[in-house]
């Protein structure tokens, strides 16, 4: 009985790794295509590709990073923030993602600062 369980576990382990590799490989193709189209200015198509990549492989930090950049380019700062944070959650030590995020935060903070200045107490001097 124990041998049978062990065999099943071994088989599962042996098949899971190639499956994950396949997912990453599929996701990578989507990311590559997204980069190609983004470089041609087709950001919407790029967003679709990177979303697909993140669906296929939810642990693919690079896909979230690219998606965040595309959202930034589209002016959707909230979605960009969520995507950057997801990318950093997966790969907290990735210096390139951190660098992108820092640059994004500069812009995001500027718009947030404007929002806080718009408080009602400020309306009637």
């Amino acid at each position: 009985m124990r041998t049978r369980v062990l065999t099943i576990l071994l088989l599962l382990g042996a098949t899971a790794a190639p499956l994950a590799a396949d997912a990453r490989s599929d996701a990578k193709k989507q990311v590559e295509f997204g980069i190609t189209v983004a470089q041609r200015g087709l950001w919407r198509e790029a967003i679709y590709r990177w979303q697909r990549a993140a669906q296929i492989d939810p642990k693919y930090a690079e896909a979230y990073n690219d998606l965040a950049i595309a959202y930034e380019h589209e002016g959707d700062l909230e979605k960009a923030r969520v995507a950057y944070e997801k990318a950093l959650e997966i790969e907290p030590n990735n210096a390139l993602i951190k660098q992108n995020y820092e640059l994004f935060k500069e812009i995001n903070d500027r718009t947030t600062r404007k929002d806080t200045q718009d408080d009602p107490g400020n309306q009637n001097p």
Binding site: G75, R110, K114, Q117
Partner: protein, 297 residues
């Protein structure tokens, strides 16, 4: 960890990751939506400012000129070109007492045909007054009953601005101005431009040559006296149709120079305004911020 070590280690980390990863630098333009919806306005009137601080710069005139020229080139609104309103005088003469209202200047192009009043006078801050709904007319030069000083006192710090700030909440006054200029968006506010100085320990870089004549730059901490300016504008955006304040924003920028360096006040003023202008413009019109990001594979 010193800042230099931190920078070096992050550069090393980036180079290491870059060596292992496929990455592509890509230029992006992030559109920033304007804070205010100004689609209802075709025109903008930079009315003038209550200004104080140094006497070397006329904060009212310079700020009005600068904002008008920036809006002319960087916004879709048509900028109304007219004399700068002497807001300090108006605020002094109409100290929030409801029965006394300031009369908009009648010398403006949009006001042609209306009851005449000499433009030059208002330019010099001697504008006359008319009672609300033509009910009461103050003789020219006669001071109305006022809680604020008869003559505008010199504004030296932010506290001195307070007695004048009620003007921005004077809905009737701004509504009248709005009617006169065909309901524009009105930009006004306060500008404090004050000299200041600070002394303390400053880190600066110094060239040193060793016995072999090799040049090195080393950080040196020295006691220095520095002087400069602080610019504190408050921009108030008023709906010319209703006379109400739509939005207001406060800013603060400062610059310091070596005490022995002589920098004209006006050039410091422009240096500081240059830093604020993008934020001011982004309130009214959408801006695109250019940058570069790294796409990862």
């Amino acid at each position: 960890m010193t800042p230099a070590t931190r920078i070096l280690s992050s550069v090393a980390a980036i180079l290491f990751i870059a060596g292992c990863t496929n990455y592509y630098e890509i230029p992006i333009e992030t559109p920033i939506k304007p804070k205010l919806d100004v689609s209802a306005f075709q025109r903008v009137l930079v009315a003038g400012f209550i200004a104080g601080g140094t006497d070397d710069v006329d904060g009212n005139l310079e700020t009005t000129r600068l904002l008008r020229s920036q809006l002319r080139t960087k916004s879709d609104l048509r900028v109304i070109d007219t004399d700068v309103l002497p807001l300090m005088d108006v605020a002094t003469e109409a100290p929030g007492t409801p029965e006394v209202k300031a009369e908009p200047p009648k010398h403006a192009p949009a006001a042609e045909g209306a009851e005449g009043r000499e433009g030059k006078e208002s330019k010099e801050g001697k504008e006359g007054k008319e009672g609300k709904a033509e009910a009461k007319t103050e003789p020219r030069g006669e001071a109305p009953q006022a809680a604020t000083p008869d003559k505008p006192a010199a504004i030296k710090d932010a506290k001195d601005l307070e007695p004048y700030e009620h003007i921005f909440a004077d809905v009737e006054y701004w509504k009248k101005i709005g009617e006169e200029y065909q309901n524009p968006l009105i930009v006004t506010g306060t500008v404090m431009f004050t000299p200041h100085q600070r002394s303390g320990i400053v880190q600066r870089e110094e060239e040193v040559y060793d016995s072999f004549g090799r040049r090195r730059v080393v950080p040196v901490r020295t006691y220095m006296e520095r002087k400069g300016y602080i610019l504190q504008p408050k921009f108030v955006f008023i709906d010319g149709r209703t006379g109400t304040v739509m939005h207001s924003e406060n800013f603060r920028e400062e610059v310091l120079y070596n005490a022995n360096q002589s920098t004209p006040a006006l050039s410091s003023y422009f240096e500081l305004m240059d830093r604020l202008i993008p934020s001011f413009l982004s309130t009214l019109s959408s801006q695109k911020i250019k940058g570069t990001r790294v796409l990862l594979q």
